[in-house]
Symmetry: C2
Subunit: 365 residues, 2 copies
């Protein structure tokens, strides 16, 4: 099979996304259906798809929109949800996940997409893509339905690492700002630091230190710092980027998802309660669909790994074709805006700025 | 004015609740309306109400159900939402909050209720009621709408302290179990420890240590330990008591509330969208009311301070009469079940158990 680079596709300026076909709960059929959906909507996209060649060739052959736009890279190994990250780091060379990241490593694609095991994906990403100079801990950022005009806020870290010191939180702020610019088109994002109260003397020591660091950086790095925010502000409109450590962010993310799911289920029950309420639900169908669409997690499917040499979009393990397609859309948007390069430049210049400030302080002492 | 203890009320076995009339966003009128509502429903309840006598006498006189069942204790000072806890600890002697806690300290009531400043209330509670022997950090527990048959789960700590080590988390588990028994009538509560994954090797060091401590205590203290749980399990059905540190718990609580509020508002918008959806919302009114009732935060209004000599119910600052009445109902239930005494006994016996085990280990060395 010829490679994409041999074909007219790249010459026509198509953006290539590296996609892991394996490891999702719904198997490679859902992934291929998802990328076919994206290919249909978006003429400027092409794929390198990683997994067992035989299986993938059959699936891809069925999708006419993928003709000439999807190169298959054979990888027989699959990372399962129960695999330990440390095991995959040592023995995962033959897996589709490894191969997917290597396409980014080799510069064939700038963004990778996978529905697989988050822990393994992050561990492999650290090893294969390496951290950006100046980044101590990479982070996972998600989009969260909010009251802001853009409809979503960015929150990070939601689970790359269970701890973060003040320097890490500053890096998260900078990376989150970069993501909000390129992912949500916000020119001057507002950043909030998650805490248990908004007064400056609240919370843990590293938060007070981070408050100062981020506040000092804001005017020079062209964002607004609104100070401490609380859990209720994550879906709110006081800021666009919520900065927190991976432990707190992960709990908040899952609590929010669980609460939304519970309310959705209770709402369904409520509408099934009587003939009248069933009739009401029929009449309200479009309204309810509109609401569902607004908060559908599949629409914003994709945690983004930030702070690496290259961008990785982690799709939900349970993503169906719609979910995969949403993750691909995000990957495309980030690749097009040359997000990886911009983020790297931003982190590098912030590191230089911090270094300058330090040197000045040392000079003046 | 005669005191309640002079009257037939206590001889008739009424349970006395100490209530802070001041410091809530809606003022003393809402508090008096709330306790009047409780008095109307529950013939076995009586109150000691703390605040400026003139103002309270006028408000109480208007409520016939409070006649002879509400003693007023004059206190001219009010703790505001912006007062610093440290300031109130030193200069708050004349406040209604101080007076409210002192009724519990003196044994006139076993449970106190306040809508005031949480930080100040916790700080004053520590000073006036003192920690139970064996408790290092008191905790705030809340009830959370869940998929469990009882309709709610207990989560603690949600903000008494921003940190907790493994011993604190063990105490939280024991106190949470006691609360679930007495507040939710669960004879054999299931306890989960909040983490970013359910595998035993996940998360921070103190969580791994707490996992072992709580697991060892479970059979002896007559509860079930389900191990690590995630944010999504807070409104779920895998456990009844969720144990976490006050920082994480506070963020989770506010994230859940914020998400529920956002969905509620979007739902309202969705139903206003077209004439048809407005008609649908009319037809669905009872169903929607049923849903609202199920997740109405006012119904479970009241964080409970655990680990003190006496129980304090912290009502939402924005509580209206319904909210205050719900907090009073919870206070009554806890007072009736002699919760404070049972909790103290449980903590004491666990401390003894831990001590025994330690001694045995030392003996066998």
């Amino acid at each position: 099979m010829s490679t994409l680079s041999d074909q007219s596709t790249t010459r026509r300026g198509r953006t290539i996304i590296s996609v892991d076909a394996m490891g999702g709960d719904m198997g490679p059929a859902a992934v291929v259906a998802g990328i076919a959906l994206s290919a249909k909507i978006n003429p400027d996209i092409a794929f390198i798809l990683h997994g067992p060649r035989d299986q993938l060739e059959r699936l891809v052959a069925k999708r006419k929109h993928l003709t000439g736009r999807c190169e298959i890279r054979d990888a027989q190994g699959v990372v399962s949800m129960s695999d330990k990250p440390s095991h995959i780091m040592r023995h995962g060379k033959d897996t589709s996940m490894w191969s997917t990241l290597d396409s980014v490593r080799e510069g064939e694609a700038t963004v990778a997409v996978s529905c697989g095991n988050t822990g393994a994906l992050m561990a492999l990403s650290m090893v294969r893509l390496r951290k950006l100079p100046g980044v101590n801990r990479p982070a996972i950022a998600v989009l969260w339905p909010s009251r802001n005009p853009q409809g979503f806020n960015v929150m990070l870290d939601v689970g790359a690492d269970v701890r973060a010191d003040e320097q890490d939180l500053l890096q998260y702020a900078l990376m989150g700002v970069s993501y909000a610019r390129n992912g949500l088109n916000l020119s001057h994002p507002r950043v909030g630091l998650l805490n248990v109260g908004t007064e400056e003397n609240k919370g843990r020591a590293e938060l007070k230190a981070a408050h100062e660091l981020i506040g000092n950086m804001a005017p020079r790095a062209n964002f607004e710092f609104v100070g401490f925010v609380e859990g209720g502000d994550i879906p709110g409109d006081v800021c666009d980027v919520i900065v927190t450590d991976g432990f707190t962010g992960n709990v908040a993310l899952k609590t929010g998802e669980g609460t939304a799911k519970l309310i959705g289920d209770l709402l369904k029950e409520a509408f099934k309660h009587s003939p009248l309420s069933r009739l009401a639900s029929l009449l309200a169908l479009t309204s309810l669909r509109r609401l569902k669409h607004r908060i559908d997690p599949r629409r914003v499917n994709g945690g983004v790994f930030l702070g690496l040499n290259g961008t990785v979009v982690k799709s939900h393990g349970s993503a169906d074709a719609t979910g995969v397609s949403a993750a691909v859309k995000l990957a495309f948007k980030l690749a097009q805006s040359e997000f990886s390069e911009k983020l790297a430049a931003r982190v590098a210049s912030a590191t230089a700025l911090a270094h300058d400030t330090k040197t000045q302080q040392e000079d003046s002492q």
